[in-house]
């Protein structure tokens, strides 16, 4: 079991900065994120987009901001559980929490800070009747192990980089690859589009455009998909697997079932005090929370993280009085023994 002082759910900018603020208070942090790398929306959706409202940075790319935040946390040695989604939470008799992920990894923490941003990113699913029934029985949204498709028939739908890249990759693995897209044009990287065109010409990828998958065929497992192509009667394509690749969409996910007070898809917190939720010991900071006057800005997430850590400290050490110190005065003492501080002024005796 992973143990920590503060378990942070969400490794976006707010979650990462929480590590630094908690570190100043000598509190250890561990972060869980459904994405395979830290950075949240900034690294997953728009790493190359400039942000203009981070203090002291007239302009910074979202990916660079993430990189700098990670650098800033290193001295406090945060732990990460990446590629896993926080699934359940159990409050212990002593007021601590055990959070278990969808892969069964258990985390024990004195404090839980939800910094989930817009939620966990989940595959966007096409509106097809009974789609859920076939999940893991021939319908997959993420390709985890390409060998799984060895010598199988595969239908991929979508027109972005992901659909193009996997169509190319699986053309060497699967016995048959069909790519179905609603448009004739593909908007992926030019390289990928050209490669798909080449493989189509060689007969290694079958393309059906402009068309959409409208139904699944099969009793328990997928045996085919029903396709509607413009100007033609609907027809069936036999397949062992249907892989819709339409990108990711943020959802609050299992956190929504934790007994937290939710308002407009966000977690209600007490902003007059410390961003604590209706469950003592669980905080929500950054875009995932709501309160009167809330602004969904990275800047506000940083502020909330700072106040939340002070409150968490008092909750963990109710008998200790902590006095807020400026890093310019006290410096920063890392868990790794490093110490950063301003050079001391030279003191000279005056005779």
């Amino acid at each position: 079991m992973i143990t920590t002082d503060i378990l942070i759910i969400g490794a976006g900018p707010t979650g990462l900065f929480t590590v630094f603020e908690a570190g100043l208070l000598k509190l250890k942090c561990h972060l869980i994120d459904a994405l395979p790398q830290p950075g949240g929306q900034c690294s997953e959706i728009y790493p190359k987009k400039p942000i203009y409202d981070i203090p002291a940075y007239p302009e910074i790319l979202a990916g660079d901001l993430t990189h700098k935040l990670i650098e800033q946390t290193k001295q406090f040695e945060p732990g990460f559980t990446l590629g896993e989604r926080a699934e359940t939470i159990d409050k212990q008799d002593d007021g601590t929490f055990i959070v278990t992920t969808n892969k069964g990894t258990k985390h024990h923490a004195k404090i839980v800070a939800i910094a989930g941003g817009l939620g966990s990113f989940e595959p966007r699913k096409p509106k097809i009747d009974n789609l859920e029934k076939y999940e893991d029985n021939g319908v997959e949204y993420i390709i985890k192990e390409p060998e799984f498709y060895r010598d199988k028939k595969v239908v991929i739908s979508g027109g972005g980089d992901s659909a193009l890249d996997w169509a190319v990759f699986l053309s060497d693995v699967a016995s048959e690859v069909t790519l179905i897209h609603r448009r004739n044009e593909f908007r992926g990287a030019l390289d990928s589009v050209e490669k798909v065109q080449e493989l189509k010409n060689l007969g290694k990828i079958r393309m059906i455009t402009p068309a959409e998958v409208k139904g699944i065929i099969g009793t328990d497992k997928v045996t085919g998909v029903a396709v509607e192509k413009k100007g033609e009667d609907a027809f069936i394509v036999d397949t062992d697997h249907f892989i819709p690749l339409f990108g990711l969409s943020p959802k609050l996910g299992p956190i929504g079932n934790w007994g937290l007070e939710i308002e407009k898809n966000a977690i209600k917190v007490n902003n007059a005090l410390d961003y604590q939720t209706n469950i003592p010991g669980i905080y929500a900071i950054g875009d995932v929370n709501t309160y009167p006057g809330k602004l969904k800005l990275i800047l506000c997430g940083f502020h909330e993280a700072t106040l939340m850590c002070q409150s968490a400290y008092q909750r963990i050490f109710p008998d200790k009085k902590y006095v807020m110190k400026y890093t310019t005065v006290g410096g920063v003492e890392g868990f790794d023994g490093t110490k950063k501080e301003a050079p001391k002024a030279v003191v000279k005796a005056i005779n």
């Binding site: 959706i45 969409s249 407009k264 969904k296």
Partner: protein, 110 residues
């Protein structure tokens, strides 16, 4: 001097709202919808207006001259669901005096 325009927005329940939108506040259609709370918070403008989520997709029913579709918007609509020939992303439609009388219907929630 501010110039307000009148636009008609049909929400996801089929209810039509006649709203007044300012053209001097750098607002786009998605932000107008949010400011009037015509769609549930968390279901529109999820990416913040960067043409990266299609949660603000709408169908344009009037013949107002609209800004040309950017590659980003076009790419997003290629991936989105419930797309029609008159689909646009609300976040890419800045409010200008030329939008007077604009009529749109919000696409279903994704």
């Amino acid at each position: 001097m501010s110039v307000d325009i009148n636009i008609k927005i049909t929400d996801r329940n089929g209810v039509m709202h006649e709203v007044v939108a300012p053209t001097d506040m750098a607002m786009n259609l998605m932000e107008v919808v949010r400011s009037y709370e015509l769609a549930e918070e968390g279901t529109i403008g999820i990416c913040g207006g960067m043409a990266m989520c299609a949660s603000c997709q709408c169908y344009v029913n009037s013949d107002n001259e609209l800004p040309e579709m950017s590659d980003d918007e076009d790419a997003m609509l290629a991936e989105a669901f419930n797309v029609e020939d008159n689909s646009r992303l609300g976040c890419q439609i800045q409010m200008t005096p030329a939008m007077e009388g604009l009529e749109v219907t919000l696409a279903p929630e994704m």
